[in-house]
Symmetry: C2
Subunit: 79 residues, 2 copies
Amino acid sequence: MPITADYIRIADEIVADIRAGRFAPGAKLPSITQLAATHKVSPSTVKQVYVRLEALRVIRRHQGKGVFVNDPKLWMREP
Amino acid sequence: MPITADYIRIADEIVADIRAGRFAPGAKLPSITQLAATHKVSPSTVKQVYVRLEALRVIRRHQGKGVFVNDPKLWMREP
DNA sequence: CCACATTTGTCCGTATGTATC
DNA sequence: AGATACATACGGACAAATGTG
Protein backbone atom coordinates (compact mmCIF):
# COMPACT_ATOMS: atom_id res chain seq x y z
CA MET A 1 0.00 0.00 0.00
CA PRO A 2 1.71 3.15 -1.15
CA ILE A 3 1.75 6.13 1.10
CA THR A 4 0.83 9.36 -0.61
CA ALA A 5 3.24 12.27 -0.65
CA ASP A 6 2.38 15.19 1.57
CA TYR A 7 2.14 17.65 -1.28
CA ILE A 8 -0.36 15.48 -3.12
CA ARG A 9 -2.35 14.61 -0.04
CA ILE A 10 -2.66 18.24 1.02
CA ALA A 11 -3.61 19.27 -2.51
CA ASP A 12 -6.30 16.60 -2.59
CA GLU A 13 -7.64 17.76 0.75
CA ILE A 14 -7.97 21.29 -0.52
CA VAL A 15 -9.82 20.09 -3.61
CA ALA A 16 -12.13 18.06 -1.38
CA ASP A 17 -12.73 21.11 0.79
CA ILE A 18 -13.68 23.14 -2.25
CA ARG A 19 -15.99 20.45 -3.57
CA ALA A 20 -17.63 20.25 -0.16
CA GLY A 21 -18.22 23.97 -0.16
CA ARG A 22 -15.86 24.69 2.69
CA PHE A 23 -14.06 27.07 0.34
CA ALA A 24 -16.22 29.06 -2.04
CA PRO A 25 -15.06 30.20 -5.47
CA GLY A 26 -13.14 33.40 -5.07
CA ALA A 27 -12.32 32.68 -1.46
CA LYS A 28 -8.83 33.26 -0.19
CA LEU A 29 -7.02 30.16 1.00
CA PRO A 30 -4.82 30.14 4.09
CA SER A 31 -1.39 31.65 3.66
CA ILE A 32 1.58 29.43 2.98
CA THR A 33 2.85 29.99 6.48
CA GLN A 34 -0.47 29.10 8.06
CA LEU A 35 -0.99 25.99 5.98
CA ALA A 36 2.53 24.83 6.73
CA ALA A 37 1.90 25.17 10.44
CA THR A 38 -1.45 23.39 10.50
CA HIS A 39 -0.12 20.50 8.42
CA LYS A 40 3.24 20.42 10.16
CA VAL A 41 5.21 20.64 6.95
CA SER A 42 7.63 23.21 5.65
CA PRO A 43 6.59 26.26 3.64
CA SER A 44 8.45 24.77 0.68
CA THR A 45 6.12 21.81 0.65
CA VAL A 46 3.05 24.04 0.72
CA LYS A 47 4.46 26.02 -2.17
CA GLN A 48 4.66 22.82 -4.15
CA VAL A 49 1.02 22.12 -3.26
CA TYR A 50 0.05 25.46 -4.73
CA VAL A 51 2.20 24.95 -7.84
CA ARG A 52 0.32 21.72 -8.44
CA LEU A 53 -3.12 23.20 -7.81
CA GLU A 54 -2.29 26.10 -10.09
CA ALA A 55 -1.35 23.71 -12.90
CA LEU A 56 -4.71 22.04 -12.37
CA ARG A 57 -6.31 25.50 -12.52
CA VAL A 58 -7.93 24.96 -9.14
CA ILE A 59 -6.41 28.13 -7.75
CA ARG A 60 -4.85 31.40 -8.77
CA ARG A 61 -1.78 32.60 -6.92
CA HIS A 62 -1.46 36.32 -6.53
CA GLN A 63 1.83 37.64 -5.33
CA GLY A 64 1.46 39.90 -2.33
CA LYS A 65 -2.25 39.13 -1.95
CA GLY A 66 -2.78 35.45 -1.50
CA VAL A 67 -4.13 32.31 -3.09
CA PHE A 68 -7.69 32.22 -4.38
CA VAL A 69 -10.13 29.54 -5.42
CA ASN A 70 -11.06 29.42 -9.10
CA ASP A 71 -14.54 28.76 -10.34
CA PRO A 72 -14.93 24.97 -10.34
CA LYS A 73 -16.34 25.19 -13.86
CA LEU A 74 -12.77 25.98 -14.87
CA TRP A 75 -11.24 22.81 -13.56
CA MET A 76 -13.87 20.23 -12.64
CA ARG A 77 -13.90 17.28 -14.94
CA GLU A 78 -14.44 13.59 -15.16
CA PRO A 79 -12.43 11.04 -14.76
CA MET B 1 5.78 42.18 -21.19
CA PRO B 2 6.28 39.94 -18.20
CA ILE B 3 9.17 37.54 -18.12
CA THR B 4 8.14 33.95 -17.68
CA ALA B 5 9.56 31.78 -14.92
CA ASP B 6 12.07 29.17 -15.95
CA TYR B 7 9.98 26.25 -14.75
CA ILE B 8 6.98 27.39 -16.77
CA ARG B 9 9.00 28.25 -19.85
CA ILE B 10 10.77 24.89 -19.85
CA ALA B 11 7.47 23.07 -19.31
CA ASP B 12 5.94 24.92 -22.23
CA GLU B 13 8.89 24.05 -24.43
CA ILE B 14 8.48 20.39 -23.65
CA VAL B 15 4.79 20.56 -24.48
CA ALA B 16 5.65 22.28 -27.74
CA ASP B 17 8.21 19.59 -28.51
CA ILE B 18 5.61 16.91 -27.98
CA ARG B 19 3.04 18.68 -30.12
CA ALA B 20 5.63 19.06 -32.84
CA GLY B 21 6.39 15.35 -32.72
CA ARG B 22 9.91 15.76 -31.42
CA PHE B 23 8.88 13.53 -28.52
CA ALA B 24 6.54 10.70 -29.32
CA PRO B 25 3.98 9.30 -26.85
CA GLY B 26 5.74 6.81 -24.64
CA ALA B 27 9.13 8.34 -25.27
CA LYS B 28 11.52 8.86 -22.42
CA LEU B 29 12.38 12.46 -21.71
CA PRO B 30 15.90 13.56 -20.80
CA SER B 31 16.93 12.92 -17.23
CA ILE B 32 16.61 15.66 -14.68
CA THR B 33 20.36 16.07 -14.60
CA GLN B 34 20.61 16.37 -18.36
CA LEU B 35 17.74 18.81 -18.66
CA ALA B 36 19.19 20.91 -15.87
CA ALA B 37 22.49 21.09 -17.68
CA THR B 38 21.12 21.95 -21.10
CA HIS B 39 18.88 24.67 -19.68
CA LYS B 40 21.48 25.89 -17.23
CA VAL B 41 19.19 25.62 -14.23
CA SER B 42 19.35 23.54 -11.09
CA PRO B 43 17.89 20.05 -10.77
CA SER B 44 15.39 21.49 -8.31
CA THR B 45 13.94 23.70 -11.02
CA VAL B 46 13.63 20.79 -13.44
CA LYS B 47 11.84 18.80 -10.78
CA GLN B 48 9.34 21.62 -10.50
CA VAL B 49 8.87 21.41 -14.27
CA TYR B 50 8.04 17.74 -13.98
CA VAL B 51 5.70 18.27 -11.04
CA ARG B 52 3.79 20.73 -13.17
CA LEU B 53 3.70 18.53 -16.27
CA GLU B 54 2.57 15.60 -14.18
CA ALA B 55 -0.32 17.60 -12.78
CA LEU B 56 -1.26 18.43 -16.36
CA ARG B 57 -1.00 14.72 -17.18
CA VAL B 58 1.50 15.43 -19.94
CA ILE B 59 4.01 13.02 -18.46
CA ARG B 60 4.34 10.09 -16.11
CA ARG B 61 7.26 10.00 -13.73
CA HIS B 62 8.63 6.57 -12.98
CA GLN B 63 11.03 6.30 -10.11
CA GLY B 64 14.30 4.71 -11.11
CA LYS B 65 13.36 4.57 -14.79
CA GLY B 66 12.68 8.02 -16.07
CA VAL B 67 10.02 10.43 -17.24
CA PHE B 68 7.74 9.42 -20.10
CA VAL B 69 5.36 11.20 -22.44
CA ASN B 70 1.69 10.41 -22.04
CA ASP B 71 -0.67 9.97 -24.93
CA PRO B 72 -1.71 13.49 -25.93
CA LYS B 73 -5.32 12.33 -26.02
CA LEU B 74 -5.01 12.27 -22.26
CA TRP B 75 -4.16 15.89 -21.85
CA MET B 76 -4.68 17.85 -25.06
CA ARG B 77 -7.56 20.23 -24.94
CA GLU B 78 -8.78 23.61 -25.95
CA PRO B 79 -8.79 26.15 -23.29
C1' DC C 1 6.12 59.75 -0.75
C1' DC C 2 8.09 56.65 2.50
C1' DA C 3 8.66 52.85 5.70
C1' DC C 4 7.23 48.56 7.13
C1' DA C 5 5.13 44.05 7.50
C1' DT C 6 3.01 40.40 5.02
C1' DT C 7 2.58 37.29 1.32
C1' DT C 8 3.63 34.95 -2.68
C1' DG C 9 7.33 33.95 -6.53
C1' DT C 10 11.39 31.86 -7.99
C1' DC C 11 15.48 29.43 -7.57
C1' DC C 12 18.98 26.95 -5.36
C1' DG C 13 21.35 23.39 -2.50
C1' DT C 14 21.17 19.47 0.44
C1' DA C 15 19.75 15.15 2.62
C1' DT C 16 17.65 10.80 2.50
C1' DG C 17 14.97 7.24 0.52
C1' DT C 18 13.49 4.09 -3.14
C1' DA C 19 13.40 1.92 -7.69
C1' DT C 20 15.72 0.39 -11.69
C1' DC C 21 19.44 -1.28 -14.45
C1' DA D 1 27.37 -4.55 -5.62
C1' DG D 2 27.43 -0.37 -7.73
C1' DA D 3 25.72 3.33 -10.67
C1' DT D 4 21.96 5.92 -12.19
C1' DA D 5 17.56 8.15 -11.74
C1' DC D 6 13.61 9.73 -9.73
C1' DA D 7 10.81 11.05 -5.04
C1' DT D 8 10.12 13.72 -1.28
C1' DA D 9 11.01 17.15 1.99
C1' DC D 10 13.43 20.83 4.00
C1' DG D 11 15.73 25.25 4.51
C1' DG D 12 17.42 29.42 2.84
C1' DA D 13 18.02 33.62 0.02
C1' DC D 14 16.30 37.21 -2.46
C1' DA D 15 12.79 39.41 -5.38
C1' DA D 16 8.29 41.40 -6.25
C1' DA D 17 3.61 42.78 -5.19
C1' DT D 18 0.37 44.36 -1.86
C1' DG D 19 -1.62 46.83 1.95
C1' DT D 20 -1.28 49.79 5.87
C1' DG D 21 0.16 53.61 8.42
